[in-house]
Amino acid sequence: MDNVASHGTTTGAHAAHAHEQHEHVELGFWRKYIFSQDHKVIGIQYAITGLLFLLFGFSLMMMMRWQLAYPGAPIPLIGNLFGADKAPGGIMLPEFYNMLGAMHGTIMVFLGVVPLAVGGFGNFVMPLQIGAPDMAFPKLNMASYWVYFCGGVTMLTSFFLPGGAAQSGWTSYPPLAVINQGGQTMWLIGMVFLITSSLLGSVNFIVTIVQLRAKGLSWMRLPFFVWAQFVTSFLLLLAFPPLEAAGILQLMDKVAGTSFFLPSGLVVANRVVTGLSGVSTDAARAGGGNPILWQHLFWFLAHPEVYVLILPAMGIVGEIIANNTRKPLWGYRALVYAVGFLGFMSFIVWAHHMFMTGMGTTMSAFFQTTTMIISVPSVVILTAFLLSLWGASMRFTTPMLFALAFLPMFGIGGLTGLPLGLAPSDIHLHDTYYVIGHFHYVVAPGTIFALFAGIYYWFPKATGKKMNDLLGQIHFWGSFICINVVFMPMFIQGLGGMNRRMYDGGALYQHNAALLKWNVVIGFGAWGLGLFQLPFIINFFSSIKWGKAVDRNPWEATTLEWSAPSPPGHGNFLSEPVVYRGPYEYSVPGAAKDFSPQFEPERA
């Protein structure tokens, strides 16, 4: 990582920008590494912070799985660290379980996956892939990272305040979220930071892709990864503001005594809910609100959000498949249209998360229809990737292992979404472990595997070193097996009627009795999965120092980023990049090499 900025001022696009001022002030430590405006440094900041949050969010889950496997048993090793208000005698209290659950979801989605996938990969790779010297707005880029950082600190701090962290699910449904004591207010403030960060980032990404493409890089010559980030940025830009609005309204409910989401006549624990925070004690003043309004505003964001989670991953998988099959991606045009259509459709399916709220049949029919339609572009993309494997000259590099695993795992995730998107079957499955199994298959062995693939793939570009392959294999196989042990049984539990978010693992209900044993199996899968991340962590850090040194294009890839030095210096390219052909010209008949990079003038 040192190399990224220290190549700094002597290389760069000097030759091409002859009219440029030649004052290259050597930046101090703080401006170079901490408050950097360089997209590569910012990308690495996002990636490392995101990975740390993923690890933290996963640790919360490992604790939850202990409670579910052995309800009431003291948490081993660390149980006594949490204090009597969270885990007296090391035994997890229900409130603490709920905190862990709400924060696991929040942290993984908003602090882990999206910052890594969009902030990390998007920032680092996209400008290089389009031949740009940096993002359109470097200062805004720096601001967006630090606002994310503030959001993360806010979320983490909430654990240590009286009342603990938010405990009403990552979905924060009122009335519970409003009347619950605890860190919900901090959660809302944290979300405002994160949404702001996201907004600044998405404007930057879109302007960069539209305005800073290199000469010859037309829209239909863009790598699929760039298209995926482009659509993702539109989703973030347009879908997040309604959640910001909802967050403001819920914050008003919590601190200003309003009742946007509190219905009239609400009774909790035998008492009528009156005004809040002591601002109003007139019982008549609490009420007139609509809890379903929150759900609409929340899911209006949160549905496009899941496409934000998957699209960058699909982009990464596309790059790696093309590179390791030595063939162009099948159906490039179909992929582009599919990803655009997917983005558009993602705005009109949200209420499939709300089938059980008592909606009428017309609304239900509308959302079921749009939900079925949206599965089409997803299937197009998956099919195109699968067809890309036909007749391939396959190279089973570490990135390719993860990219290949993505395909069936996303397939399972997608297929299990179908009975959830159809209201009649959703009646049985809503709020059960089936839902948890479904979305984790898409995000965990789906997106996160794709993100691992991307790390192994672009690590050489960022550091000039390759990660170790043996450790990569161990990481892959261990994770692949364990992750399926964790999530496959959840379909069985869900079909059996086991509800989500139950602190005792479902033991309270008799119908769950035969399903409880799976909690132990899942627990071991989760802890095993945790152990198999150790080879990755060791590999990641040790390869920076001791990895095999590589030059610009160790994977013999065709896209523009591989023409820059590894790591690229300030300004990225040594001479102005020009693009001569499409992004995946592999194995062109008659060419001397099995790949014809976008940036080489003559066919090799």
């Binding site: 760069g12 696009a13 302007v207 305005q211 503001p241 909802a246 946007f260 109003s280 003043r285 505003l297």
Partner: protein, 194 residues
Amino acid sequence: MQIPYTVEARPDTGLHNGKLGIWLFLASEVMLFGALFSAYIILRTGSVEWPHGELNIWLGMANTFILIGSSVTMVMAWASLKLKNWAKHRLYLFLTAALALVFLVNKYFEYSEHFSKGEGPWHNTFFGLYFTLTGLHGLHIIGGVIVMLYLLGPGAKMWEKNPDQFANRIEITGLYWHFVDLVWIFLFPVLYLL
């Protein structure tokens, strides 16, 4: 290292970066205020009764004309700059900020009146929405004023070094300002008249 198209327009899009950026930002703002207006619609149509005549329509109308006026002065500020009339530009930009401050002062009087009668956001759903919507709008006005003061103050130095980039900044400030005005054009009838 220069970022291309910060100042001059990219030929195939006809835009400079800041202009595209601000339009995208405004799209997100449409979604933000749109969500709040939707909340208003849902809560009002779901209510049994709804207050009428609680707000000072004359003050609201005055504020409407003040903001429209400030949009006019904002355009004049940009036009004067394009015509290289620095003094006129400064005058009009200053007037825009001044009109915005008058708007805020009026809002302060309105808010104090309501608070003195115990009509805060907690009073009923209508007032909750009124304060949230106008409050968020007011924050956007304050943001705009801060940018204008910067462009009147330390930011004005850019006119010497890079007049075209400075003109771009005034242009995108103007676009933002027109949007803030437009939001008020919706807020006023919805909250004060309907």
